[in-house]
Amino acid sequence: MLTSDSVPAMAKQKTENTNSAIRTAAEIRKDFPILARQVHGKPLVYLDSTSSSQKPYSVIEAMSTYYETYHANVHRGVYEISEEATARMEKARVKVARFINARQSKQVIFTRNTTEGINLVAYSWGNTNITAGDLIVLTEMEHHSNLVPWQLLAQRTGARLEFVPVTDEGLLNLDVYEQLLQQQPKLVAFTHMSNVLGTINPAQQMIAHAHFAGAVVLLDAAQSVPHLHVDVQALDIDFLCFSSHKMLGPTGIGVLYGKRDLLEAIPPFMGGGDMIRKVGLRESTWNDLPWKFEAGTPAIAEAVGLGAAVDYLNTMGMENVLQHEQEITSYALEQLQGIPGLTIYGPDVTKRGGVISFNLADIHPHDLASILDQEMGVAIRAGHHCAQPLLERFNLAATARASFYVYTVREDIDALVQGLHKALHIFSL
């Protein structure tokens, strides 16, 4: 746990030599039309990208071009624009597959979001592979979306859930993890990056050790794929889920990546059109991957938009995305250090992404968020961040959370800091 007077020296060192990244981010901002708007008569300062990122023109235009020029249903029509829509959607799948280094694009299943991807695995893989008494290992830092589907699976099957504890510093207790692996879990599911603490978990090592213990591993990559280079083959991950809307793409589409043999072996999640090969009145056979898992008309515009978001991130380079966020996070930690009564949760900057959860004196995070919004036009998240067990672990009902992305500049952090000083003043502190 960091308090305002114990921000690591690392933070100071890393803020040197950031002029090029700042200039880049300032230029990047021009690609995001929403960043030009005002709220309460002040320029919008958007510090809630962990909840959902903003969208560049290229993504918005890719989607409107689809609706304006080649909208038709996919995988059905034999006419020009349907073929074009199908080709563009499948091209987006290829882009996503390359982005995460999947061996084949058929391993990329389009879902609605991370939550649906995890539920798909919990039903299709879980129902056929988990039986009474089986152990599922999760962690205390999971988002509700990587917790509740496994609770439901445990209720359906009689499986047992165990949790890797979180240390005071906000890291997973890997000693307990190793002990749990000795009990030979069938499944291990954990988050690559905490949406509350920003902690980046040692996924490579955890996956390797889980495999050694014979477990299948699902990685919740909702916070990592937008911010770091994630290579599914290097990680050797079995299932990986993420959402488009946190990585500059539209809402309404997400991705489940899976190893081919696992995806081939499990039954469909939802039944309907597009996911079938042959349908009889009493039984049907299934389409090939990935369509076996994509029942009904898919989110076509959203797939095209996600493809454009991947293009945008590739043009930037994920190394630069990560570097910029680490610089901004270091700067933010350094600036927040000077605020009396501020408590920051989570590990130091070397182990975290661009997410900072904090509390300020006795000011409730909702009051803080209201003041920042109305006084400064600063948008932050306040509450339990869909991670109630993690907050209970730290005896907290809520935190305020500021989070950063490619378009975050130092001026945004300065506005946050100014707003926090105003809140102290308003609360007579």
């Binding site: 409730h364 909702h366 009051d367 209201s370 109305q374 006084e375 509450g383 809520a398 308003i426």
Partner: protein
């Protein structure tokens, strides 16, 4: 303006809540939370005939939700049950005396909802959608 939100008397009620605590053997009790914010609130009432003779509340949450609960508790003291049953959203808004944005109405009205639920559970008020369901 945020300054409007956090007038001195609201902060005073937040930091020095009136009637804070609980009753040993309440005649009416209810509790609830705002699942999205985590605000929590419980209300105990002591009722003698047709009068509310004591009120205590306990809670955890933002200044708006806790100040509203404190103010509401002052409105209830020594009132008749009939008068308390009549208390509505406008009474809470008048007491707060500040504009409440749509995102914060759940905070402002949490204690009002818990109050009416406690009366309904004790059979002192007709159960309605307002006092038994969320919004």
């Amino acid at each position: 303006m945020a300054m409007d939100y956090y007038r001195e008397y609201i902060l005073d009620h937040y930091r020095n809540p009136r009637n804070y605590g609980k009753l040993d053997d309440p005649d009416a009790h209810a509790e609830d939370n705002n699942p999205l914010c985590g605000d929590q609130l419980a209300i105990d009432l002591q009722v003698d005939g047709d009068h509310i003779t004591a009120v205590r509340f306990q809670g955890r949450g933002c200044a708006i939700s806790q100040a509203a609960a404190s103010m509401l508790s002052e409105m209830i003291e020594d009132k008749t049950v009939e008068e308390v049953v009549q208390l509505g959203k406008n009474d809470v808004l008048d007491a707060l005396g500040i504009p409440i944005s749509p995102a914060r109405t759940k905070c402002a009205f949490l204690s009002l909802r818990v109050l009416h639920r406690s009366l309904a559970l004790a059979g002192l008020e007709k159960p309605t959608i307002d006092n038994t369901d969320d919004e």
